[in-house]
């Protein structure tokens, strides 16, 4: 086996030095009733070329967007990833290292994460960002737990237009804690209805996603003001960070914590993972923040260097009193996002966000011209909801035969919205694709 370097001679010599007669002898402390009774029954080991065939054949049994024109977004977006980012990210010094516990031989990872924290803070308009979390959904759950630590509140209010799968993750995280989750309904313009907030007590946090699950841009400023009146922290979530190339950022609109998914920033969708949980906050809350942080310091000769810092918040020091149980970040994904943001730059980010917006507005306009019904009136970014006719579901299946995926039916999460589909465009959806789609869905 090519990953096992030991020759029979090596094994014999090492066994002698270890005072053992055989390899089995090394396991004598494992009692008989804790052992396997038979050998492992796994397939015969594959050669490298057999393995390539296996994965190739499995991957062909997935409708990936390389053959399909998809209008699927909903928290996982198709964006071009420059080859330069993919190449840099495959450098084995980044890939095969671990958490930078020994800073003197991990300065590459450490400086890169410090830069990621900086670019993230700038993107979100926040004072401090952590080194990343698992994904957008768990980042939101961690943000809510953080708000519950900061305030003395016992309940959190979540917009119903936060991604439904994120709300499920939040429910899972909060279930054993006894804290209450209150849902904020939405109005006819496709944004969160804040009116119930005025009478809500014991609030630790209000969380709103913008652009929200329907793609609508929320009035975060008003929500921030109302939240502050209730003595709670204002959390903004996002699934499409590219929006902040164009939109006002969460910090400018009064967010105490901004969190969400960074997959759009140079990370392939890959069936949903790995992803990138982004989390940033006001600096006064930094000591209650979950996750790793990299800080700048100096070496004994006064030279700039970077280290993991504020570890006293973390599980390995604080044990059960830690701010979270998280041990690592999603380092390589954070690195991908930093490389992507660096490649785009301020100018590119603005331009790309505008192109994305233009494409989705073009699709929206063409659908309206063709007589389709856009469900909500407010401004959107990249995604919007269309109400098709009740017979559309069979058309949806026919379109799949033609290798078009006509967005995502959302009735499963919003039973009051039958025949409603969430459609998404990015810079990868060209005018030709859009024109063909509009033609196909127009009766």
């Amino acid at each position: 086996m090519r990953y096992l370097p030991h020759t029979e001679d090596d094994i014999a010599t090492m066994l002698t030095s270890s005072k053992a007669d055989s390899l089995d002898d090394l396991f004598m402390t494992i009692p008989g009733d804790c052992r396997r009774t038979g050998d492992l029954e796994l397939p015969e080991p594959l050669t490298e070329w057999e393995l390539i065939d296996r994965i190739d054949s499995l991957s062909r049994d997935v409708a990936s967007s390389r053959e399909y024109t998809t209008f699927l977004g909903a928290g996982s977006y198709e964006h071009f990833i420059p080859q330069s980012v993919s190449h840099l990210l495959s450098r084995s010094e980044f890939v095969t290292s671990y958490t930078p516990y020994q800073p003197e031989i991990s300065q590459g990872t450490l400086q890169a994460i410090y830069e990621y924290q900086t670019l993230t803070a700038r993107l979100l308009g926040m004072e401090v960002a952590n080194a990343s979390l698992y994904d957008g959904a768990s980042a939101l759950a961690e943000a809510l737990l953080m708000a519950l630590r900061v305030t003395k509140g016992t309940r959190v209010a979540l917009s119903r237009l936060i991604h439904p799968l994120y709300r499920q993750v939040v429910a899972t995280y909060l279930q054993p804690t006894g804290y209450e989750i209150v849902e904020l309904p939405y109005g006819t313009d496709g944004t969160t209805d804040l009116s119930s907030l005025d009478t809500m007590d014991d609030l630790a946090a209000v969380a709103i996603q913008s652009p929200n699950f329907f793609g609508s841009i929320e009035d975060l400023k008003t929500a921030a003001d109302k939240t502050r009146d209730r003595g709670a922290l204002f959390i903004t979530a996002f699934t499409e960070p590219l929006a902040f190339g164009l939109l006002k950022n969460p910090g400018a609109l009064g967010a105490d914590i901004a969190c969400g998914e960074g997959q759009s920033l140079g990370i392939p969708r890959c069936f949903g993972g790995p992803a990138l949980g982004m989390l940033a906050c006001k600096s006064k809350y930094v000591r209650t923040m979950p996750g790793r942080l990299v800080g700048k310091t100096e070496d004994v000769e006064g030279k700039r260097g970077f280290v993991l810092t504020l570890a006293t918040r973390e599980q390995h020091i604080r044990r059960e009193k830690a701010t979270s149980n998280i041990c690592t970040n999603n380092s390589l994904c954070a690195l991908a996002a930093a490389m992507y943001m660096a490649s785009l730059g301020a100018t590119g980010m603005r331009e790309l966000a505008q192109i994305n917006h233009d494409r989705s507005e073009y699709l929206k306009g063409e659908l309206v011209t063709a007589g389709q019904d856009v469900a909500f009136s407010g401004p959107t970014f990249n995604e919007f909801v269309v109400r098709f006719t009740p017979d559309f579901s069979s058309r949806y299946d026919e379109l799949i035969e033609q290798k078009i995926i006509a967005g995502l039916p959302i009735e499963r999460w919003y039973p009051e919205l039958p025949h409603h589909y969430l459609l998404c465009c990015t810079e990868t959806t060209g005018k030709k694709d859009i024109d063909r789609f509009v033609q196909e869905v127009t009766p």
Binding site: I30, R36, L40, T118, T172, L246, G272, G273, N330, G365
Partner: protein, 484 residues
Amino acid sequence: MTESPGTTGLIMNEPLLWERGKRGRHGMSLPRRDVPSAPLRDDLVGDGPDFPDLSEVDVIRHYTRLAQWNFGVDSGMYPLGSCTMKYNPKINETLSGTPGFAAAHPLLPDHLSQGALGLIHELEGFLAHITGLDAVTLQPAAGAHGELTGMLIMHAYHRSKGSPRSRIIVPDTAHGTNPASAALCGYSPVPVKSNDQGILSVDAIAEIMDDDTAGIMVTNPNTLGLFEEHIRDIARVVHAKGGLVYCDGANMNAVMGIADMGAMGVDIMHLNLHKTFSTPHGGGGPGSGPVCVAKHLEPFLPLPRITEQDGHYALLWDAPQSIGKVQAFHGNFAVMIRAYCYILSMGRYLRKASQLAVLNAAYIKEELKDTFHLPYDRPCMHECVFTDKFQEQYKITTLHMAKRLMDYGFHPPTIYFPLVVHGAIMIEPTETESKEDIDAFIAALKAVAQEARDNPDLLRRAPHNCKVKKLDETRAARHPCLQG
């Protein structure tokens, strides 16, 4: 001694990203504008992020230089105890980026994602077989996330029996994350000491296990690298009081094909695909922390479950006892592809991998036990734990020796963990290190121990050959500077 791998070379300085670049440069190809521009309402538009503008060459040089400041498994031996820094096969890297998978959307209808669902389902089966448990979820994103998932399952199980219970037993030889994971579920950890052999005694558990204790979180093999020999009886004690046994499987690399977690009485266990199953650590993630459970706990696993019927895979959302979701989508699929490829490449050799991992650790233990203090001289599994007790007389600590080891071209072992040993040096070589590399590592550690006697100041000022000298961590924590 043969020449050690450590030397010096030309290392390039590199500024921070925003100290480079000029406004108007760009490093990325953008699509043509083929539709009319649609301006957003003015009051919604912001200034855009304050990013530097860089060319593609700027970006490439920047990160290439940063990469050269890093030490990885591909650079040399990385014997970080409890982290299983084994070789990460390159074919698995390539295959994890297979275009059809890389471009797959997680919310595709089931019949359009059969290849991905099939891979996950088959990998679940492999992991169940390897651990000896019955059902598996691959949704958790990392080891600590798997622990949390395991604790949520334990909590949901007890709730279904009428009371969630309030305490959980956590031995001093368990992983450091365990208490924090338990606390997230409202459990107060009850510490229990290992005995003079470095393992748990049945009596110690019997004394504290009661009707309000949800169970035990045990790491086996434990963080001293020792097999918990009484685990079967401990499980009986815990089960008799209605509790569950959670096993932290971070050290599974020692016992693949040898131990049977089901037979031991384990009810819930998490694995780390990035340790045992050779997927890369990526500088601290992404990993993957699957959770394996005994049959009676399957209804509590996260949603959705993947079911198979006549070769067709479907997502099952209807499971009323499930804890719900722990990640938005299906987990870290690209990591699963790598682990799946690893298992298919290894097959029955997984057992051999564990045998050689243990052989390497046992060999190091024997070769170094005269040089460093060995607190528990018992047969070790995949890692061995020394201390700095012999070097105390020269006022040399574990930290000094770890830093000096870098100059010799090795990543230091895990230090000051487990806490149960003062000044711990925890060495986990893994099976992918050859005898020559291990001999060079042993020689380097012996040379460092010699220097501790002859020239202790050299160690106190180490490392000498790295990009930066010893860094001021106190200053970083006192005056946090977390972004530029």
